[in-house]
Amino acid sequence: MEYPKIDLQELERMKKKNFEERLKFIELYVKWLKEHKVRVEKVEKL
């Protein structure tokens, strides 16, 4: 059986890109949450 050549540098770049994409997704997801599921109100200082 032939095994694939593994390019660790390429994998590292992909891993970093996936992580950055997930962080971007979190930003979009929380923005959506706050538009649809969250009420944010200013209150008097306790």
Partner: protein, 202 residues
Amino acid sequence: MGELIEAIVGNYRYTLSRELKDMDRLVLKFARILNDMSLHYAFISGYVSILFGRSRLSEDIDIIVEKMEFAEFKKLWDALRGDFWCIITDSVEDAYYDYLLSNTAIRFALRDSVIPNIEMKFPKTELERWVLENTIDVTVGHEKLKISDIELQIAFKLYLGSEKDIEDAKHLYEFFKEGIDKDKLEKFVMELHVAELARRYL
């Protein structure tokens, strides 16, 4: 429709509407017992993000509970044993002396399960004692629970540093953006030496 989850951070009240999951019901059951006994505690780490809408799974829920004498712990143990079992040991003496007093956490799960479970420990550092003195009250429907300070939680998640932890920090930062005390966050970030991570990811 879902349940309303409410907390005040800084000068802002946040009310999130979402369906409760098994993990939330486990936490609320545990918190009710601690509240009934008027114990100081704080849910910390990943569950704080999950409570406020972060969409990810977790096997355990971390909690710091005030250090107490054996007799008090025995009362807590007996109260918990209605719905929960201790995964680590059946012996209340072992749980207290061999684990909690030796700075090792014990785990409680609902009687018919192992996961998710609640990982309970006594505070062992000044930072953990500070957490207990500076909790945030959260209302979930008609129930109440206490969680860790948000600014510390964000900085500490950056300090832990795995991708999952940084994502939790990012979620909390985006969620509580209006109410976060930026000076307090910066102080924790500097003390934990995570300024570069904060600059890059928050």
